[in-house]
């Protein structure tokens, strides 16, 4: 614990901000960083850990290079989002929550990306793709696999 007296609680939002900071730097929450953060924030490790475990945005496992978020909001669901998910799972050979063995993609479902008018929608990394159909998904992923001839990596595209 720090020697200097701390206020009795960290400032509003500080815990979430710190967890986000670690997560975006490391791609997940490594144990050592959580321990260090609990010290800095002067809160018990158990409290920080339970907060981190509560939120679905934080992972204790490393993730793939790109996270594929398949939207299962209401509009996407009734317009076939669940079938997009099945197609993606088949194509990549992993289930939602898992990462491809080459470490490229982690597949996740989300409850709404807020692009309902474009349903069904998925997000790959920072890019959002709308008005999708199952037969378009395969082509979409090709551009994220490096080394495929004639395809740009996502870094070159910008947003």
């Amino acid at each position: 614990m720090p020697l200097i007296a701390q206020p009795d609680h960290p400032p509003a939002g500080a815990v979430l901000a710190r967890l986000h900071q670690i997560h975006s730097a490391k791609g997940y929450l490594p144990e050592a960083d959580i321990r260090a953060a609990a010290d800095d924030l002067a809160i018990p490790l158990s409290r920080l850990y339970s907060a981190a475990a509560f939120y679905s945005a934080f992972s204790f496992q490393p993730k793939g290079r790109y996270t594929i978020q398949v939207c299962l909001g209401t509009a996407c669901y009734i317009r076939g989002g669940d079938r997009l998910l099945e197609k993606i799972e088949t194509l990549l050979g992993v289930k939602a929550g898992e990462t491809t063995p080459d470490g490229m993609f982690t597949v996740e479902t989300v409850h709404c990306l807020g692009s309902c008018s474009m349903s069904p929608v998925i997000r790959v990394g920072e890019e959002t793709y709308g008005r999708l159909k199952v037969n378009l998904v395969g082509r979409l992923f090709k551009k994220y696999r490096p080394g495929e001839p004639g395809q740009k990596g996502v870094e070159e595209q910008g947003t």
Partner: protein
């Protein structure tokens, strides 16, 4: 430049006016998240590239949401002396042609959706250029809309404080700080009749009043932007398209209740909204419209953005506050309400994004003006995301009291591809499904509640004859089950049991007794849960049981899914007369259940088929049929 006096603000406004009406073409692209999802980024790049190539001097703006998302990507072009045209479904190639036309002194009609009337632009030249196009407010999608919350959305560069000021921004803050007492502000909000636009519908003025009178010195303002309802994106759009309106509203609120610190709690899934509100806070602070001594007075107010982390329950105000405090985002019983005891136990005024965005408009135009919109007890406007199986999807702002019919058939243009609209789901997982024969109901708090749904924060998902209402009910229960924080038993366990029963129904394994049990559990969860999430979780089940009992009966008694959705109860076949043997379904079938030679009718192997309906969705000839 620090804005300290009315004349400083006047200067800011003049600068903004020049930016909005430059003496050269102004081309703005709708680049909120839905625009980007439709490819607006590539259109923007193509416009820039083409203009650079032709050395065409223009203002290229990345704007917010223009509303009719169905027609994205949208490009709004203003050409001095010619007029202003909105182009729809733009492509990079179309963008290139558009710039070529502009460079040769033309405002083309290719891809034009409508023209946007502007004051003082009805010259003979513009009449000639625009002839043959309809004005935007004549489109059925826009005709009945009334924009208050979305007053600037899509019209300004959301990054530009000058353009916000040019549209009347910060006039209200000036008025509030220099001419009104905190008490007078609260009185105006009360008299306007504004009610909480997050869905609760609590009278806003009353909440402000309670908070301002609560004991204690430190007070806080919170903007609830943890928009979690699936099928709803109003709050995201407001933050992405007009962030200064939210900041101005919160600042006025801070002055009214005596708070010096505000927080915007934004949903994790909205990175662009977070960027835009952060940028707007920075600019407002630079201009002296946030921070110390605002507008030369001794009023101090700061705003900080907090990024949520993917927990739906944090949209509930006490859970949101617990999350801000760094603990688990779990709700607690009310009272005490946050207005009396909120963040760190201090009086906290928490309102939804759309409520905050309404405040400045009310102060500027007066409470009587606002109260005159809508109907008695339901003053003002509300924003809805009209999505699902409806022809025109998009973001719609209407005066309260418009009927569901006017909304869905009028603005929405009815069902998709001639399909019959069966119901509309409002209020997200807390709401219910309203059947088409009740579409004569007005959209207001009481009517929707009486129909077994709620107004909610604004999600409106249209469902047609191909949507199974039992499947929809289960969809929402799955949502609630996954998002229940687990603190109280009725919600945690009740949602699980309801989900299990609905699964049995969908799989054709339920008995009539299951329906009785389902209804009974639903009533218990409604009565006994701790917070709004659990109390309203049974609504999707109860409302579908009430209006679509026949669909439940068909599943339970006849083992049949009338909508042809539930996999265990349907079969798929290919109509040999229609099938052209194109092979698309054969390639796309996830389980390899389709066989056939090229250009000859294909068949589905019933032993392998999982009834996923992928082939049904993609068949260009509509040759795949569902046996229900």
């Amino acid at each position: 430049m620090k804005i300290k006096t009315p004349s400083d603000l006047e200067k800011l406004r003049d600068q903004g006016q020049c930016m909005l009406s430059p003496q050269k073409p102004r081309v703005s692209v709708g680049m909120a998240t839905c625009g980007l999802a439709a490819g607006a980024g590539a259109v923007f790049d193509a416009l820039r590239q083409a203009a650079d190539n032709l050395r065409l001097d223009l203002t290229l703006v990345s704007a917010g949401c223009i509303g009719c998302c169905q027609e994205e990507p949208l490009v709004d072009v203003r050409m001095p002396g010619f007029g202003r045209v909105l182009y729809a479904r733009m492509t990079p190639e179309g963008a290139d042609r558009l710039i070529r036309s502009l460079a040769s002194g033309e405002l083309p009609h290719e891809n034009a959706l409508a023209y946007i009337p502007e004051e003082g632009s009805d010259t003979p030249k513009s009449a000639e250029v625009l002839s043959g196009l309809v004005p935007i407010n004549a489109l059925p999608f826009y005709a009945k809309q009334h924009k208050v919350i979305l007053r600037n959305s899509g019209l300004i560069d959301p990054q530009s404080i000058e353009e916000y000021a040019a549209r009347g921004g910060y006039k209200s803050l000036l008025l509030a700080l220099l001419q009104l007492s905190p008490h007078e502000i609260i009185d105006e909000i009360t008299r306007s009749g504004l009610r909480g636009r997050g869905g609760g519908g609590f009278p806003t003025g009353k909440k402000w009043e309670v908070c301002s009178r609560a004991a204690g010195t430190a007070r806080f303002i919170i903007c609830n932007a943890d928009e979690g309802d699936p099928g709803a994106y109003m709050d995201r759009t407001v933050l992405e398209s007009d962030p200064y309106a939210v900041i101005e509203g919160m600042t006025i609120g801070g002055y009214a209740i005596g708070a010096s610190q505000g927080y915007v709690y934004v949903r994790n899934e909205y990175p662009l909204a977070i960027d835009r509100i952060n940028h707007a806070i920075e600019r407002s602070t630079e201009c002296g419209l946030l921070g110390e001594d605002i507008l030369g007075t001794d009023f101090t107010f700061s705003i900080q953005v907090i990024r949520g982390a993917g927990a739906f329950v944090c949209g509930e105000e006490t859970a949101l506050i617990a999350s801000l405090e760094g603990g688990l985002g779990e709700p607690r019983p009310r009272p005490p309400y946050p207005a009396v005891s909120g963040l760190w136990g201090k009086p906290t005024l928490i309102n939804n994004v759309k409520t905050w965005a309404s405040v400045a408009a009310i102060i500027r135009k007066g409470p009587e003006w606002y109260a005159g919109i809508g109907t008695k007890g339901n003053a003002g406007t509300a924003v809805f995301s009209l999505v699902g199986k409806v022809a025109n999807t998009g973001l719609v702002e209407i005066p309260l009291g418009l009927t569901l019919e006017e909304m869905i058939q009028g603005i929405g243009g009815g069902g998709l591809a001639g399909k019959r609209v069966k119901a509309v789901q409002t209020g997200g997982p807390s709401g219910g499904c309203i059947p088409a024969d009740l579409f004569h109901l007005p959209i207001d708090y009481a009517s929707l509640t009486q129909a077994g749904s709620i107004m909610g924060s604004g999600g409106m998902v249209v469902m047609d004859e191909d949507t199974c209402m039992v499947d929809v009910a289960r969809y929402f229960l799955r949502f609630t089950m996954e998002e229940s924080c687990g603190k109280c038993t009725p919600c945690r366990e009740g949602a699980r049991y309801m989900y299990a029963i609905l699964t049995r129904i969908i799989e054709g394994e339920a008995t009539p007794e299951d329906l009785v049990l389902l209804e009974e559990i639903a009533m218990w969860v409604k009565e006994a849960s701790l917070c709004g999430l659990g109390q309203t979780a049974p609504n999707p089940v109860l409302s579908t049981l009430r209006y679509f009992r026949d669909e439940y009966d068909a599943h339970v008694r006849e083992k049949r899914c009338p909508a042809g959705v539930c996999r265990a109860l349907i079969k798929l076949t290919i109509n040999a007369e229609r099938c052209t043997g194109c092979g698309l379904c054969l390639r796309e079938c996830p389980v390899g259940a389709i066989r056939g030679k090229k250009k000859a009718p294909h068949i589905i192997d019933p032993d392998l088929c999982t009834h996923c309906r992928t082939c049904y969705d993609i068949c260009p000839e509509k040759a795949v049929e569902i046996v229900r």
